[in-house]
Amino acid sequence: MRDVAIVSVAQSQHRRAAAELNEVEMIQPVIRAALDQVGATISDIDFTCSGSSDYLAGQAFSFVMTLDAVGAWPPIVESHVEMDGAWALYEAWLKIQTGAADTAFVYSYSKASPGDLPRVMSRMLDPYYAGPLWPDSVAYAGLQARAMLDAGVTTEQRMAEVAHRNREAARNNPNAQVVGSASVEDLLAAPMFSDPLRVHDCPPISDGGVAVVLAAGDRARDWAERPAWIRGIDHRIDSHQVGARDLTTAPSVAIAAQRAGVDGAFDVAEVHAPFTHQEQLVLDGLGLGDDVVVNPSGGALAANPMMAAGLIRLGEVATRIMDGSVGRGVAHATAGQLLQQNLVCVLEGGD
């Protein structure tokens, strides 16, 4: 395996509606910042891969427009996934592993604000059994929360504690959208929003994006004083048929974690759990000890730009390794709904 590292991360200040910007205008400064930090231009990049969704953009092949923000002349080698950017990073990492590239640029973004996100999300589901029912994403997540509550896997108290801890942590995150939280007691006193979920159990709707530079070996050492080396990365998926899954576990998290080499001590974990009840499923799947700091950024409960919130988790861990504040971390990204698909990445400082 080639040693590949994250050497630069930039993200937008996430917010409910970037109404005055189109996608290109929103992501271009982020792309520029990520390249500027390593003194690179797009001509120094061997492979570019992005993650975005036409359903959110309301336009076919919408990612082609966004290439304007990268600059695609002279021609660049480029790819795209209709997935969270964490999977675009996985593709870029593979490309570097093949030897076809030494450097890669990965970015992802979305504006959810122009549409009705909970309704748009229903288009992710299978078109025969679930799609025609137009289940909104909040009620859909509630099925998993209820299953966990009924099984005693979580409690409303624990869910409120997750909301409180993440949003309080977000006070230290300049990119966060939802910052600070009422007390757990006050959260639990609030009425149900979509029973069994209260508003605090749900992620915000966000517009935003993230960009990451990857490099192999000595190129990474040239570009960063402390590269965040990718020591393991893997992704797995559970059944698309929700009624055939045990919603109180996330087997694909555990398999991805095992194959990514999640073992031993970690300083930090950034997990992509949009709804409060999901954090516990991810942590259980990762099998981390209690001494690991979880989501110092505030996670997806503090800002949840679709297609970007997973790659941001990798970026948050990498940023902390690059600035020397942690030595080893694990990042998790999810795709689909109810933690259907999961990616796990182990990042480490050192040589």
Binding site: S8, V9, A10, Q11, S12, Q13, A17, A18, A19, E20, L21, E25, M26, P29, V30, A33, Q37, G58, P114, D116, P118, R119, P127, Y128, Y129, A130, P132, L133, W134, P135, D136, A139, Y140, A141, G142, L143, Q144, A145, R146, A147, D150, P174, M192, F193, S194, D195, P196, A224, S239, Q241, V242, G243, A244, L247, G315, E316, A318, T319, M322, D323
Partner: protein
């Protein structure tokens, strides 16, 4: 290193020109032998599952075994009554949902099946419903061969 990029938010969206954009994609999908059998049976007000390699009945049916990936063939009829295995409350119905009144989204394990089907339950309020509740299918007046031939589930015993 990580940086934050701040964009000028001074306009706050005020004074921006906006126009509605509605996108629809009309599709006629080919259903194949398994999904096709399921939706065709719904048109006759019958519900079919499929027997997996381990003997369990998967409903709605899948084309390949969830564990082994082997093609599945043996369709099994299940009942129009079942048990709510989990649910959530939809206080405000959205366009396209089977019920346009407040209702529950639910997974229902039909009698004779070992997995659950996603659908909605007509109930007067969240307090009227609980996991384990018995429900039965309310059929659409004019079935067309789609999952929406099940108009919704209603509480068995007539609470709704």
């Amino acid at each position: 290193m990580g940086v934050t990029v701040t964009v000028d938010d001074s306009t706050g969206g005020e004074g921006l020109l906006r126009a509605p954009l509605v996108i629809e994609y009309p599709f006629n999908r080919t259903t194949g032998p398994v999904v096709g059998a399921f939706v065709s049976a719904l048109r006759d007000r019958r519900v079919l599952g499929i027997r997996a390699a381990d003997g369990r009945v998967v409903c709605p049916p899948v084309e390949y075994d969830p564990q082994t990936g082997a093609p599945l063939e043996e369709m099994v009829e299940v009942a129009a009554t079942g048990t709510v295995t989990t649910w959530s409350w939809v206080p405000e119905a959205r366009e396209g949902q089977p019920l346009q009144t407040p209702h529950a989204l639910a997974l229902v394990q039909l009698d004779g099946a070992d997995t659950s089907v996603l659908h909605v339950v007509d109930a007067p309020g969240p307090e009227a419903l609980s996991t384990g509740a018995r429900v039965r299918i309310r059929w659409a007046a004019e079935p067309t061969g789609a999952i929406t031939d099940i108009e919704c589930f209603e509480l068995d015993g007539g609470a709704s």
